[in-house]
């Protein structure tokens, strides 16, 4: 059934009434740009579509035991998260454009901002962004605006997908992006200090970094600030349950991917970017911010603040035009964090770290398996070197029911044998033991 309910005949009649033919409607568009017939098969009935999709979906390995990470993690999601976020009052796809009538939505966003601030130990957060990668890009653009400089230093242990995004989004801008090579799994202080100068807008680092290693960037914050540059930290929110917060390290802008906060792993999204900063920089922070105020009668109320710089008011000069997120994802993160509470988050983070330590012991006990960065602390993710190509081993383990990890050769030269393995609180001792046995068996 066509989307528009008018029949061809009715449309022809309407056009004839004003003396036009259908093709006249498109006469302003050069014919070369007209849509050519698409090579699509005939439509199918609902039943046929369902069985087709089910057949395609059955090709996915959805029952693998997951040790994959690299920015997205298989955390447990309490059933109450879905029960609450799927309430019809919340279950809308987009952020509100008539904010005053959406007090409940605004309050939820306000509280999301509050939990992000507490988590990151920063002063102000926005109402969320598209995903962790675009959040990092927006943070970089924000630093460029704030400092009016054009150079950015990025540590190469920042998620490689994010780094590709930084490059491709800024390809046509006059920005000098310098990548420094990590030193033994941590940000290379010496290289960063050498690259830092009076033109540097920001230093971008990640904690735990893409290799899972834990760092403390307090010294880098000082180094950046001494040159008038900002420190941007991308972080993994669950780790903040036990790790030092970026705010406590002196970070100026903190971003991250919020998928681990109650959002399922699902083929690229929808996901959730978050961003927090210092109060003094709030004017240059992209995206919407909900504030708390009182109405004429002194009752508490919520409003979209700072919206004059937003895209629906100043499209060409908006701080960003891609800063929206499906607000439902932010709500999900809020509900998840509220359900866990401070203690619950700390326990979850501790469980991740403890189980990862156990996995490390079991896996490195296998002959020929060694830690790639033996000197570094890690949170719940680690790089292990295998005695064979990591991609090959991972493929074999999929056949045995385990998504054993992410082979790093795709993004890092000389790491053909390195496998990035993540462990969350969901993995049992038995599953970890089975992975170790299966890995040993295939080597």
């Amino acid at each position: 059934m066509p989307y528009i309910s008018h029949t061809d005949q009715q449309r022809a009649q309407m056009l004839a009434e004003i003396g036009l033919k259908p093709e006249d409607l498109f006469s302003d568009i050069p014919p070369a740009l007209w849509c050519r017939p698409l090579n699509l098969p005939e439509g199918l009935s609902e039943q046929e579509v369902r069985s087709r999709l089910a057949a395609i979906a059955s090709k996915n390995y959805i029952h693998l035991t997951c040790f994959l990470g690299g920015g997205f993690y298989d955390h447990f999601i309490p059933a109450a998260v879905y029960a609450l976020t799927s309430r019809s009052e919340f279950y809308t796809a987009y952020t509100p454009y008539q904010p005053e009538v959406s007090q409940g939505t605004l309050q939820a966003i306000y509280e999301f901002q509050s939990v992000i601030c507490r988590l990151t130990e920063m002063e102000a957060s926005n109402a969320s962004l598209y995903d962790g990668g675009t959040a990092l890009y927006e943070a970089m653009m924000m630093a460029l605006r704030l400092t009016r400089r054009n150079k950015v230093i990025v540590d190469d242990s920042v998620n490689p997908i994010y780094r590709v995004m930084l490059h491709s989004y800024t390809r046509n801008l006059k920005i000098e992006l310098t990548e420094t090579e990590n030193a033994g799994g941590l940000a290379n202080r010496e290289a960063i200090r050498r690259a830092l100068d009076e033109q540097t807008a920001a230093v971008i680092v990640q904690n735990p970094n893409f290799f899972g290693c834990i760092d403390d960037f307090t010294d880098l914050a000082e180094a950046a600030h001494s040159k008038g540059a900002l420190l941007i930290v991308s972080c993994y929110p669950i780790s903040l349950g036990i790790l030092k917060a970026p705010g406590a390290m002196g970070a100026d802008i903190v971003t991250g991917e919020g998928q681990s906060l109650g959002l399922p792993m699902c083929f690229g999204g929808p996901y959730l970017g978050f961003m927090a900063t210092r109060k003094e920089y709030v004017r240059q922070m992209p995206g919407r911010i909900v504030g708390q105020t009182v109405d004429a009668q002194g009752r508490r109320g919520f409003v979209l603040t700072l919206q004059a710089r937003e895209q629906h008011i100043r499209r060409d000069k908006a701080t960003s035009n891609i800063c929206s997120n499906e607000a439902l994802c932010a709500l999900t993160a809020l509900v998840y964090l509220c359900l866990l509470g401070k203690e619950g988050l700390r326990e979850t983070a501790q469980l991740c770290a403890d189980k990862a330590s156990y996995a490390y012991q079991r896996l490195t006990a296998i002959p020929g398996v060694r830690p790639h960065f033996p000197a570094q602390w890690f949170f719940n993710e680690m790089v292990l070197d295998l005695p064979c190509e990591a991609a090959e081993a991972a493929a074999k383990l999929i056949e045995r029911g385990y998504a054993a990890g992410f082979p790093l050769s795709r993004y890092y030269k000389g790491m053909n044998n390195s496998l990035l393995i993540a462990v969350t609180e969901k993995r049992t001792k038995q599953e970890i033991g089975m992975l170790a046995e299966e890995l040993e068996a295939i080597l």
């Binding site: 009016r148 004017r283 004059a308 710089r309 008011i313 100043r314 000069k317």
Partner: protein, 129 residues
Amino acid sequence: MIDPEARYLRTHEWAKDEGRGIFAVGLSSYALEQLGDIVYLELPEEGDTVEQGGTFGVVESVKAASDLYAPLGGEIVEVNQAAVDNPDMLKEDPYEEGWLIKIKASNPSEFEDLMDAKEYKQFLETEAE
């Protein structure tokens, strides 16, 4: 309220000759009334340059953000930090304490292009119609 000493742009910025090629620039009280509560001012930095008619900043009220246009081209030699810190003061004294920037004009004769107080008054009357 129109300052007879100042000259005006159609976008309601004013300029006043302070001598030695330096001109103070602000927003007319008419524009400030139209904008309502001003919540934020974004001004350039000292040393920045601007062309006549080019934008040098943004004034933000609760529901809108408007560009600020330079009545003369030149180098920004002073920025009114007190106004940035407290935009409310613009309305209290738009033509004295409420100046925004001072420009060292690269071509002081551009001042002559601007409307004088009488022309600006007429312009406002036609705007009102």
